[in-house]
């Protein structure tokens, strides 16, 4: 573990990503301290430009504080990103592990299903799902998870297919270990590194999908989100550019941080691949 930490500390992109992520998480956690008021509330005169007294990022057409929206929005983005990724990884790992370990017709059926979900336009499917089940935190997380699991499943399957042919797995079978034991304790730990790397990238993609959905008005109206802020500020782009520009930057920084973090993990966990992916 210390070896892992040491190597991660040595990865420049990984460290930049980690620092940015920690800052973002701190910002999200302290949202209620920094801006205790409801971010939907009118806080000042409408359309104040950034750096106006008391309003770091200005106000929108209804006089809401953009900075408060950014800070509270960080919560939503990170939470939805993590929740949907956890769900997608759970589904992906199970599907991939089962397909890869059992192969044969089980594999065939599961892979057809995975390919199907990978072929159809995923963002449109997410739109349809959220629209039909009406936008809510749960439907958004579910929709993002539904369109995100296939790459994980394919990755885990490929790892399993190669690992289950390894002699140490055969040795466990000869030793009479149970299937569950073999999958969970022999194969899975060896398949996990690339999954971890992909997971961090998946959180980033999930945040992008979420922002796209709320930009289209498919967000949960109980919470403010960055995507919603951009969508709402869109019509004001000629007069109040900051309403769209600032939340977009927030998304950009968050997604970038996750990608950099993933890059760092990849350098550490897949040293073989790192030469081809290092920035």
């Amino acid at each position: 573990m210390s070896d892992f930490a040491r190597r991660f500390l040595g990865s420049r992109s990984g460290m930049i990503g980690l620092v940015l992520l920690v800052l973002l998480v701190l910002m999200a956690l302290s949202a209620d301290l920094l801006y205790p008021q409801d971010p939907w509330r009118m806080a000042g005169r409408p359309n104040l430009p950034p750096f106006t007294e008391g309003f770091l990022f200005g106000t929108d057409q209804l006089g809401r504080d953009v900075a408060a929206g950014i800070v509270h929005g960080a919560r939503m983005s990170l939470m939805i990103g993590f929740a949907s990724s956890v769900a997608a990884i759970g589904v992906g790992v199970v599907v991939g592990a089962v397909a890869g370990y059992f192969s044969g017709w089980v594999d065939d059926v599961l892979m057809r299903l995975t390919e199907f979900f990978q072929t159809i336009p995923s963002f449109m499917l997410a739109i349809v799902l959220v629209a039909i089940f009406s936008p809510s935190l749960e439907s958004i997380v579910t929709a993002i998870a539904v369109v995100s699991w296939p790459p994980i499943a394919r990755l885990v399957r490929a790892e399993f297919l190669s690992l289950r042919q390894r002699d140490f797995v055969k040795a466990a079978r000869v030793g009479g270990h149970s299937r569950t034991n073999i999958i969970v304790s022999q194969i899975l730990p060896n398949a996990l590194s690339p999954v971890i790397v992909m997971a961090s990238l998946m959180v980033a993609t999930a945040i992008l999908i979420e922002s796209g959905l709320s930009f289209l008005g498919l967000g949960d109206r109980n919470f403010i989100t960055w995507g919603f802020m951009i969508g709402a500020g869109r019509t004001m782009i000629r007069h109040a550019w900051w309403l769209s520009a600032i939340p977009g930057l927030a998304i950009f920084v968050t997604v970038l941080a996750l990608n950099l973090f993933g890059q760092g993990l990849s350098d550490v966990l897949n040293p073989r691949l790192s030469r081809s992916t290092r920035t």
């Binding site: 390894r166 055969k170 040795a171 466990a172």
Partner: protein, 542 residues
């Protein structure tokens, strides 16, 4: 095969090749001086890590990134190669110095036909017009013994067999009639019968064209078969050099003596072959297995059927070692897997002490299963990289109900038996060498107190000196614990050393079966004779 010394074509002086910082040693090759003469085969022989392959690449000017010639010279017919500008080097490569690689499948471009790949070498060195090149290509393919060059030239590499691919590689290397041919383990990836053909081809071409051939190999049998002179390398240093007969029969350096002894030990079969008349521990009756592989995907009807086992029957007595010998695709490993219940037979049965395993009640089957253990070929793949040795050696015992403390005591005993100390328990597999890992693999099989061990090419991936040690260990343990052993190998010589009886397999069938000495020295089946005949360096061993 020795001949009067001829003119030098390639001359290395005080050559050192530096590895990138952080490698396990600073110099891959250090202070090496060696000459290659026209019209000879010089074998550079060494175990893994000896630096022999990097030497070949250094001559070609194709060292991997980060690896470089640190000092010394390589003189090719008056041209200094180490400082040669890239464009002049390019003109030399392929034209005057050519190379043949170990693995012809990956060394050929998968999306170009054989013709295209030879043709581009001719084009690159400005040879004639299209018609002239076409004539040359057909000539080359014919000279390397490829059937029907007219048709075969248009084939993609995946269409050819391993031997054909290597022939195509050789044709390509010879396209511009080079003076020097560097062959880097050119037969290591091939079956023994194919290896013999390729060695004969290389020898024939070398003599016909008076080539200087630098032949890199790890196999002393191959050396004995083909070398005029031998250079022995060890950890980057040249330890001994001389005419083949002299180095093979009267090695001077201690390391060479050790290697030669280890190889010769393999063919010393005096101690083997005992008679066993007890009840069989394991009986295989009419084992049949056919693999059906889909080649065209989900909906295609095209299936390829491979009959891996055709009605195979064998017995193994208590304390007996049965050798199962065959080339790749003979079905020998399939049979091994069936014996340890890693795959199900289509028909036939495997009996343990007379009872068919498949018909045992579940409880009984679970009790019996660990009594048949397996030792694998690749010591790097056979241990879970994330588990400490302690876990590797105790987990299975605990699953079968042994108390943790007892399991650990047993693990310690077995580690001791395979010649490793207790400190190994707390380490991870990557902290061990290949030979040590193979010992751990054996210990893992032994902790379950098996009655039968299937050794599936258990020494094939090891260097020859380690190979001898592991074979000795296996024989020793077998005798001490009265184990039976099914010894699967492609190498008749290795089999003859440890086995009492030998069964020779070809295309899923047992073609010959008998006393180890008889099979080795007086084979009755044509295929066995071919196998024996193909063993490289057989005259030297006898």
């Amino acid at each position: 095969m020795s001949r009067p010394a001829e003119t030098t074509v390639l001359s290395m002086r005080s050559l050192s090749i530096a590895l990138p910082p952080g490698a396990d040693r600073a110099l891959a090759v250090s202070d090496l001086s060696l000459d290659l003469y026209r019209n000879e085969i010089l074998c550079v022989v060494g175990e893994s890590g000896s630096g022999k392959s990097l030497l070949a690449n250094a001559i070609m000017g194709l060292l991997p990134n980060g690896v470089r010639v640190a000092s010394g010279t390589i003189d090719f017919e008056g041209t200094e190669l180490t400082t040669l500008p890239a464009n002049r080097y390019r003109k030399l490569r392929g034209a005057r110095i050519a190379m043949v690689f170990q693995e012809p499948m990956t060394a050929l471009n998968p999306v170009l036909t054989v013709r295209e790949q030879i043709d581009e070498a001719l084009v690159a060195h400005g040879v004639g017009n299209a018609a002239e090149r076409q004539r040359r290509i057909l000539e080359l393919l014919d000279a390397t013994g490829l059937p029907d060059p007219e048709t075969l030239q248009h084939a993609y590499p995946f269409r050819l067999s391993g031997g054909q691919r290597q022939r195509a590689m050789i044709a390509m290397a010879l396209a511009l009639e080079p003076d020097v041919l560097i062959a880097d383990e050119p037969t290591t990836a091939l079956d023994v019968t194919t290896q013999k053909q390729i060695l004969e081809l290389l020898r024939e071409i070398q003599q016909r064209r008076r080539l200087g051939v630098l032949f890199i190999t790890h196999d002393f049998g191959v050396v004995a078969e083909i070398a005029d002179r031998v250079a022995v390398m060890r950890l980057g240093e040249l330890v001994e050099e001389g005419p083949a007969r002299q180095v093979l029969d009267h090695p001077r350096h201690g390391y060479t003596q050790k290697l030669v002894a280890a190889v010769r030990g393999l063919s010393d079969t005096s101690g083997a072959a005992r008679e066993h008349r007890s009840e069989p521990v394991l009986s295989i009756l009419g084992a049949t297995k056919t693999f059906v592989t889909a080649t065209g995907g989900f909906f295609s009807g095209k299936r390829r059927r491979v009959e891996a086992l055709k009605d195979v029957s064998l017995d193994i007595a208590q304390g007996e070692t049965l050798g199962l010998v065959g080339e790749s695709g003979s079905g020998k490993s399939t049979l091994g897997q069936a014996v340890v219940q890693l795959l199900e037979l289509d028909s036939g049965e495997i009996r343990f002490h007379g009872t068919p395993i498949a018909e045992m009640p579940r409880k009984e089957r679970e009790r019996v299963r660990p009594k048949i253990q397996i030792v694998f070929q690749d010591p790097f793949a056979s241990l879970n990289p994330r588990h400490r040795i302690r876990r590797a050696l105790t987990e299975t015992q605990v699953i079968h109900g042994t108390r943790r403390a007892d399991a650990l005591a047993q693990a310690e005993r077995m580690l001791d038996l395979v010649g490793l100390d207790q400190g190994a328990l707390d380490r991870f597999p990557h902290e061990f060498s290949g030979g040590q890992r193979q010992r751990i693999g054996i210990a893992r099989a032994l902790v379950m107190e098996p009655e039968l061990i299937v050794a599936d090419e258990a020494v094939s991936a090891l260097d020859v000196s380690i190979q001898a040690q592991i074979l000795e260990l296996l024989a020793d343990i077998r005798d001490r614990l009265h184990l039976s052993m099914l010894f699967i190998t492609h190498d008749l010589r290795v089999a003859a050393q440890v086995c009492d009886r030998i069964a020779v397999m070809q295309r899923g069938e047992i073609v010959e079966h008998g006393n180890a000495q008889e099979v080795l020295h007086a084979p009755s089946h044509g295929y066995t004779r071919t196998l024996c005949d193909s063993m490289p360096g057989k005259e030297w061993f006898v």
